[in-house]
């Protein structure tokens, strides 16, 4: 701190409370998104990592296409595609250790799957047979969060709790550019920084919140510039450059793991598909813009690098494509089976023990279902068997 020149008899003390609590400079993002592919740094990228990312990106792309197709066949209630954002989705999952936690937003089923969750379970919410389809503790993946940004404080609390217990756990929380405008984003980042909680916040800036473009969402130089206001580092990365995202997130996870506190990462990417299958993107953006971004496709970027490095022989391409097709075929087959969610489950998990009021309501539903089943039995014997199980009685 510089000291104002002494002059005259009186000199006010500097406001005693004031000392810059942190040096802001290292917290500010670089002026340009960090990139590896197509730069000198690409030469140093680990071939094993490149191949792993490639396999996953190809699978992810195929997965997005398959899931979108399933909406047309009435097999999913809705699907928010991450086509074009696969680099972020995959990197977010791959940088974590088993013991770490992922906090996905509603668009992030691909990251959830890359973390190990069965795709059918990951899609349960969007298929509509239940809300969360997986046990969050099995792969340490929080439920997909529909209310935007609300999952961020959860990530902070979990990471904080793990640290209090002495566990070496990092939480990575995903949110969209639109989600950064919510109060919960602000409160979560602030809590994380104050508690030095080991959390990595990954903002996928895909340019839109449904129809609302980034310039109506924020006037900031970048979303990563928000970090300094919480006292955490902000990093900017090309979100379509899988190697760069992987590197920046890995660094951030290490920083958090080593006690350095939270990090905010903004990944610049683009949603190539509409918001969901129900959305009409032509209402708010032109083909030209989409075409520009197709020229910066994360799968292509990676493939070109692999090609340049001679890592993409025919076998690799075929293997990746076969893996992807197998994933899609498996998903297709299993999603074409009719799920039979048990209506009695409506009452099974509202509380540990249903209240007397819920027990009453449960019995009323049970009676209805039994009457229904009887009617069905009369109409077509056997068809309705199993519709009423004892599952709800738990």
């Amino acid at each position: 701190m510089t000291v104002t020149e002494q002059r005259g008899a009186y000199r006010p003390a500097p406001p005693p409370a004031w000392q810059p609590r942190t040096d802001p400079a290292p917290l500010l993002p670089d002026a340009e998104p960090y990139r590896v592919l197509g730069t000198d740094a690409a030469d140093r990228a680990d071939p094993v990592l490149l191949r792993t990312l490639h396999t996953w990106l190809v699978a992810g792309r195929r997965y997005n296409a398959q899931a979108t197709a399933l909406t047309k066949q009435g097999r999913l209630a809705v699907y928010p595609s991450s086509t074009g954002q696969e680099a972020c989705e995959i990197a977010a999952a791959l940088v974590l250790q088993d013991r770490d936690w992922l906090f996905p937003s509603y668009r992030d089923t691909l990251a959830v799957i890359a973390r190990g969750v069965d795709p059918v379970q990951a899609l349960t919410l969007l298929r509509g047979d239940w809300h969360t389809g997986y046990d969050p503790y099995e792969h340490r993946v929080a439920p997909l969060s529909t209310p935007l940004a609300t999952q961020l404080p959860h990530a902070v609390g979990l990471a904080h709790a793990a640290r209090l217990k002495g566990d070496d756990v990092v939480a990575l929380a995903m949110v969209g550019d639109g989600g950064t405008s919510e109060g919960d984003f602000h409160e979560a980042l602030n809590f994380a920084a104050v508690q030095r909680a080991p959390v990595v916040f990954l903002v996928q800036n895909n340019g839109f919140a449904i129809s609302v473009p980034l310039e109506k969402q924020t006037a900031a130089p970048s979303l990563a510039h928000k970090a300094v206001g919480y006292g955490m580092p902000g990093r900017l990365v090309d979100g379509n450059d899988a190697v760069a995202v992987h590197e920046v997130l890995s660094d951030a996870v290490r920083h958090a793991r080593e006690g350095g506190g939270p990090v905010l990462v903004e990944a610049i990417t683009y949603r190539l598909d509409a918001h969901t299958n129900a959305d009409d993107a032509t209402r708010y953006r032109g083909d030209a813009e989409v075409a520009t971004w197709r020229g910066h496709d994360p799968v292509d970027l990676l493939e070109r690098e692999l090609t340049r490095r001679g890592l993409l022989d025919e076998d690799t391409v075929r293997a990746a494509s076969e893996d992807a097709e197998a994933l899609a075929a498996g998903l297709r087959a299993r999603m074409h089976q009719d799920p039979r969610p048990d209506p009695m489950d409506l009452f099974a998990h509202v509380y540990a023990e249903p209240t007397p009021q819920l027990r009453e309501q449960r019995e009323r539903l049970r009676a209805e279902l039994e009457a229904e089943a009887e009617l069905d039995d009369e109409a077509e014997p056997d068809a309705a068997a199993g519709a009423v199980s004892e599952g709800g009685a738990r």
Partner: protein
């Protein structure tokens, strides 16, 4: 939004027309919310407004509901008449503090010097296969908040009339739009829209002598269907559409119940602590000696809203309504 001749119109179209006419009639009316501009809203209710009136009159905001409603409060303080769209029921919750602590109270806090003429449009309820957090019936929260008007249309004509009345009101109105009726159709002439009635009157949608079904919004069609079906059982049911939960039209409701002597309240919202308790209690207080049976309630279960594949088990349907009617102690009659 060009003019069309008398023909079937959807509730969504009537709502759009109401906003358009309100904006044309009064330059103080401004629409704001997420995706209301370029996209015209996820339910297309604000379709065409930004084009016709400009982005300053119909504005895409950042994604932050408290900020949207709080900004609208400030706009209303300066004499504008904001109409806020909340994208879905559960996404109005982030704005709850602004709604309860400011919107509902500003007139009272300031001894009437600073009224807030603003409308909060909230698509609500289920039945459209929405994933979690997209199908809440949140009306119980609003009707327990003094200072708010709470209205909900059940017909195409009312959608127009009530929304015009809401926007014209000098008090804040929570305007609940039944999602599953957005695409319901009715013959409606947008050139001769229903006169704008003041908020607060219920209407008898079907006359009957045996018992009264008291309902609103998404459950009106269910009740009308139940009333038809009940004829087979020999019951002649009256159906009252509340339209306005606050203020509540005790007069119309109680007149009906006194005539019929029996009543069932039907709504999709959960039962415990839901509107039905209030309605049953106040009807009973006022009509006790006319009642042949307790006022019964048919409502959603007291559970978080179910996933799409199970929602039909949750939503009160015709059978449950008839079942409740059957429990109205008819033996006393014979």
């Amino acid at each position: 939004m060009t003019t069309v001749a008398a023909r079937p119109a959807t509730m969504a179209q009537a709502l759009t027309r109401a906003l358009r006419d309100a904006m044309a009639a009064d330059p103080a009316v401004h629409v704001l919310g997420e995706d209301v501009g370029t996209l015209g809203g996820v339910f297309r209710v604000t379709d065409g407004l930004a084009k016709e009136f400009g982005e300053d009159r119909c504005t895409d905001t950042p994604l932050a509901e408290a900020g949207i409603l709080g900004t609208a409060v400030g706009m209303a303080m300066y004499g504008l008449r904001p109409v806020v769209e909340m994208q879905f029921d559960a996404f109005a919750y982030p704005a709850f503090e602004q709604l309860v602590s400011h919107v509902a109270r500003m007139r009272n806090r300031t001894r009437g010097t600073m009224p807030l003429p603003l409308t909060v449009r909230i698509p609500y309820g289920g039945g459209i296969g929405g994933v979690e957090h997209h199908s809440d019936s949140s009306e119980a929260y609003y009707l327990a908040t003094p200072g708010l008007h709470v209205v909900t249309p059940a017909t195409v004509a009312d959608a127009y009339g009530l929304l015009r009345a809401a926007v014209a009101s000098d008090d804040p109105v929570v305007f609940l739009e039944p999602k599953r009726l957005y695409w319901s159709q009715d013959a409606w002439n947008p050139e001769e829209p229903a006169p704008v009635e003041p908020i607060g009157r219920a209407v008898v949608r079907r006359s009957g002598r045996s018992a009264t079904l008291i309902t609103y919004g998404p459950s009106l069609p269910v009740c009308l269907e139940a009333a038809e079906a009940a004829r087979a059982e020999g019951w002649d049911l009256e159906v009252v559409d509340l339209r306005s939960l606050v203020p509540f039209d005790d007069e119309t409701v109680c007149a009906s119940v006194r005539r019929t002597g029996r009543a069932v309240v039907v709504h999709e919202s959960g039962s415990f602590g839901g509107p039905g308790g209030e309605i049953a209690a106040r009807v009973t207080e006022r009509c006790f000696h006319h009642l042949e049976a307790p006022v019964l309630r048919v409502a959603g279960f007291d559970i978080p809203y179910p996933p799409p594949m199970l929602e039909r088990h949750h939503l009160p349907g015709v059978d449950r309504v008839l079942d409740a009617v059957a429990r109205l102690q008819w033996e006393a009659e014979s």
